[in-house]
Symmetry: C2
Subunit: 224 residues, 2 copies
């Protein structure tokens, strides 16, 4: 019997590397999708390639879309500074409709390769400021996926899998370490340099560093 | 008082040109979004530019995404022939998750420019084979849009407007003619040549030609 396929969104960060390892551990044939949406941290995409290579995914695709042309986020609009400290409310690093766009692209690919499971590494605990990281968003997209597709009309029920959604950063790191994720390959920093070295100061760096500390696991991150 | 903004998806076909005219007639400042998803009929994008220019839209953006790399449709995968006759069930010209992807991109732009209305020219009557042209799909996306965005969390209710959804092709053509749409600028053909001339034989051409005949309006389409 052939194995089930899954599309896994892989950005090259810690969360998506862990998500990929979980999908693989569930015995899926993993098709990794990385999206280049004009983000600041292109180092992430290099990291994605390394993570995927190490994980033995069945396929990898990088799609480019020009969200930088839309602006509205510190991650795609270079006129907005990435904050160096925790900010209240929804962060300026929020990218408008990002996860809707990523899941829509993943859904298109899933339909073509006949995958019914789509994995995304969203997390509602540490990044509670992002609306499209909440369980109700994931549930709404799952409902949409069935209505939106030929496969859905023909009876397929897509599952949008967000295995990290209720985990703390420390839980995620513990889980990934169990599954032998090599976190030295991943890049979380919003302002990583061309070699993928982290700034150590942005929100993403702070959360990541605190996560390793809380998990009691040595932090392999390369800092500038 | 400043006018309300709307994002309008404009492909360059007859339906989206009519949708743009309806949005303008409702007194919206229209921001036209065209998506180049590797479709066969690039002539459509040229048509989109002409239609938008004629309509006096407040802004126009073309986004490129490489759905051609995904394949799975006669419109993006050049190894699948465009059928020359009506086929039963969901047509091979169905593009996996296309309208989900288009609406997701439109939602991202809408959030940035503070538009709350998104217009899409889907139609459930003539193209009943496409799952993502049905009212239940549009309703599900509207629900998702509010959950997915910062604007939604802050109280904005997005409206996904599909004013053609229950109209026949003849009704659409009558409505557009009332609103002075110049249909000679539009391209519907799946296999149009580089000058935008239509094949006259594909599904889209047949529906368009029959629509003009049923509306009793001369067909300005340029055929090869």
């Amino acid at each position: 019997m052939s194995r089930q396929k899954a599309v896994v969104l892989v950005s090259g960060g810690l969360d998506s590397a862990t998500t990929l390892a979980i999908a693989r551990d569930e015995d899926f044939d993993c098709y990794a999708l990385s999206v280049d949406y004009g983000q600041r941290h292109l180092a992430e995409l290099d990291a994605a390639r390394r993570v995927i290579q190490q994980s033995g995914a069945a396929g990898h695709r990088v799609m480019r879309i020009d969200m930088a042309g839309i602006g509205g986020s510190a991650l795609t609009d270079f006129s907005i500074d990435v904050p160096q400290a925790k900010t209240p409310g929804i962060p300026v690093t929020y990218v408008p409709a990002r996860n809707t766009i990523l899941l829509a692209l993943a859904l298109g690919w899933a339909e073509v390769i006949e995958a019914h499971d789509i994995f995304i590494g969203v997390n509602a605990v540490d990044y509670s400021g992002y609306p499209d990281c909440r369980p109700e968003f994931v549930a709404a997209f799952q409902q949409l996926a069935t209505l939106a597709t030929r496969a859905g009309v023909q009876g397929v029920r897509f599952a949008i899998r967000a295995p990290l959604i209720e985990l703390t950063k420390a839980d995620i790191i513990r889980k990934g370490t169990e599954l032998e994720v090599d976190y030295s390959l991943t890049v979380s920093c919003y302002s990583a340099d061309a070699q993928g070295r982290a700034c150590g100061a942005c929100d993403a760096c702070r959360l990541r560093r605190a996560g390793f500390a809380a998990a009691g696991i040595p932090d392999p991150t390369r800092y500038c």
